[in-house]
């Protein structure tokens, strides 16, 4: 008798589960999965967008895997993600921690660090191009004091990507700050009060309470930052256009170029699916690792 009740309860829970996710999947079904499926078929075609697609089988994929520029693009994208995600998380977290304490001007600082999110991208690119200017830019002028020469930054094959990483971190710190602030609010006061009674200092509270209880948010931030870092585009488009010598060419830049500039939407779709596969694998690995380090209640 108890067993029947249990089965019914579990079944009821499952039904509620499906009901509550249904609207989301219905909407995504029409406005995403359908388009995704179409793009899958296009990746096996040659399509110039203006005329009908033409089936070519695996040709696009084979071409991409053999193309040295594509291989470099793939590597650039991975390199970019590996640089920008950890550094970005540290910066945003530090910012959120700093602006969560009751320091004076807390609200003003929060607004100031939020500003990059509100500024027109064109102004941001003008300022950063000036910062990276080899002759007049404040960065080189500053480094000159320490004996550095005329660094070329955006025109230097080795420095262009780090330059973009720095700019990206700066631009994204506001978003990260908001998410971590929300996560920090979610930590019950009682834990801190109990720790203070035990005489814990700031660093102990940070490592034994804040960070562990922040892991759900950290996990979210890591997964989403990685996903969007793999898809970096705007900053490459406005600052370097993939140069110099393709050192900053990333996957989505290639996809955009091929799909909308060179009338090669089939190739672009194939590249997008390769990217999708990579991101999917990376994300699944992260999801699997959840149990090891993420503390949900």
């Amino acid at each position: 008798m108890a067993q029947k009740r249990f089965r019914t309860a579990a079944a009821r829970e499952a039904i509620w589960g499906y009901v509550m996710i249904a609207p989301m999947f219905l909407g995504l079904g029409i406005f995403f999965y359908l388009s995704l499926g179409i793009s899958f078929f296009i990746s096996f075609s040659k399509w110039d967008v203006l005329t009908s697609p033409e089936w070519v089988g695996l040709q696009n994929y084979i071409y991409l895997f053999k193309d040295p520029v594509f291989q470099k693009t793939l590597w650039n994208t991975v390199r970019y993600a590996l640089m920008v995600v950890p550094l970005g998380m540290i910066v945003s977290l530090t910012l959120a921690l700093a602006l969560n304490t009751k320091i004076r001007f807390q609200k003003i600082y929060r607004l100031i660090y939020f500003l990059p999110v509100l500024t027109m991208p064109v102004t941001i690119s003008i300022i950063w191009k000036w910062i990276y200017n080899p002759d007049f830019g404040p960065l080189n002028l500053f480094l000159h004091l320490f004996g550095f020469g005329r660094l070329l930054w955006l025109s230097d094959v080795n420095l262009a990507m780090p330059a973009l990483v720095l700019m990206d971190i700066w631009m994204g710190s506001g978003y990260g700050m908001i998410i971590y602030l929300a996560g920090l609010q979610n930590i019950p006061r009682e834990f801190y009060e109990a720790a203070e009674v035990d005489g814990a200092n700031y660093w102990q509270k940070l490592f034994y309470i804040t960070l562990p209880l922040l892991t759900p948010t950290l996990f979210f931030s890591m997964v989403t930052s990685l996903i969007s870092a793999f898809q970096v585009f705007d900053i490459v488009y406005t600052m370097t256009k993939g140069g110099p010598q393709e050192s900053t060419r990333t996957m989505v830049y290639t996809i955009f170029d091929n799909g909308f500039h060179f009338f090669k939407m089939g190739l672009a779709s194939a590249a997008a699916w390769i990217l999708f596969a990579i991101i999917l694998v990376v994300t699944i690995i992260q999801l699997r690792s959840q149990d090891k380090w993420v503390h949900y209640s």
Partner: protein, 428 residues
Amino acid sequence: MIKKISWILSLLICATLVLGACTPAAPATNAPAAAPTTAAASTGPVTISYAIWDNNQLPAHQQIIAAFEAKNPNIKVSVEVVPWEAYWNKLQTAVAGGEAYDTFWMNGPNFPVYAAKGVLMDLQDRVAKDNVDMSKYTQSLVKLYSYKEHVYGLPKDFDTIGLYYNKDLFDKAGVAYPTADWTWDDLAATAKKLSDPAKGVWGLSVPGDQTGYWNFVYQNGGEILAPDGNSVMVDQPAACEAITFLYNTMKAGSMPDAATTASMDPETQLFPGGKIAMITSGSWSARTFKAAGFKLGVAPLPKKVKQASIIHGLANVVWSGTKHPEEAWAFVKFLGGEEAANILAESGTVIPAYQGMQDKWLKSMPDLDLKVFTDALAYSVPYPNTPKGTEWNDKMFAAMGDVWLGNTPIDQGCKAMATAANTVLSQP
């Protein structure tokens, strides 16, 4: 809490109702060419859509449309400004979706692709039937918008390249202004005299391809694209000499180097900021440069073997899939006519392609010798393009960038540029 949520819910419901009520109104009055029309019975007016990308020219075009609608009461034109950065995106998406504009602007680099793929309506027969006088437009423009000897677009405006210079910088250094019979040597020598790299001032800048090195290639008797459009000719001696000349001028300190121009644009920052004495740029820059505040002058580009200036211009085209071919053609024909050119000329925004209409533009900035640009028609070279699109040029320009940065030595530079372009052009 519940009260707050119910309040939000009712707001959402109200919003949805309002939107639902609003929605039917929008498409009926504004959707382009959505009205189902039968060819025979012309009951209500036919609406055709027209896309442009320059908001500055909108007032002039609204006037043109008003004049057209007055003469054609059965046709209504709905014009849409699509911001330049997304124009081609949107056009391609619309074509792919079968909802392209009936009429729209077309430019040189994109024209062969769209024509070759059958997106544009062949206007040749209609031009012949309606006796449209094609001699009224500059011939290089007619050629630019012809595919396989058929006309696909009616030229609207044109622009040529000239040499702008900062008279104040010339006066300060006591150097004579550029003249109409300057040669490359005059250019290089004067540029050297006006350069002071230590102070961050340079004598010359030749940015870009259409506004830059292409002109020099033609001035030396070279070509960019081979006549069949399947390969480039930048590694031929004539073209390569031109490229090397520019490279050496930069190396001599007379032009800003690649790292500088990457972070500060010559046309929008260095020249107006008074850091460059002479710059090659298009007729469209006259207004902006004038506003920069210093005394501005303009001269023809220097010659080597001959004079050359790249000419480009926009055209109005018709979508091949339009449901109203006659109305669309009538509008494009009107756009290419004298009355429309007159209205365009009055606005002073662009130089009309229609013969005899250039005067008003010339007079719009009297203290600047704008005649340089219209005189250039005599020795103009049409913008080089091919049905294979623009990828070859992107790759070639990137290869040139590497030469300028020193990553590729100059003696291999032309070859590298040619290889980059030809790899693309040789693909089917």
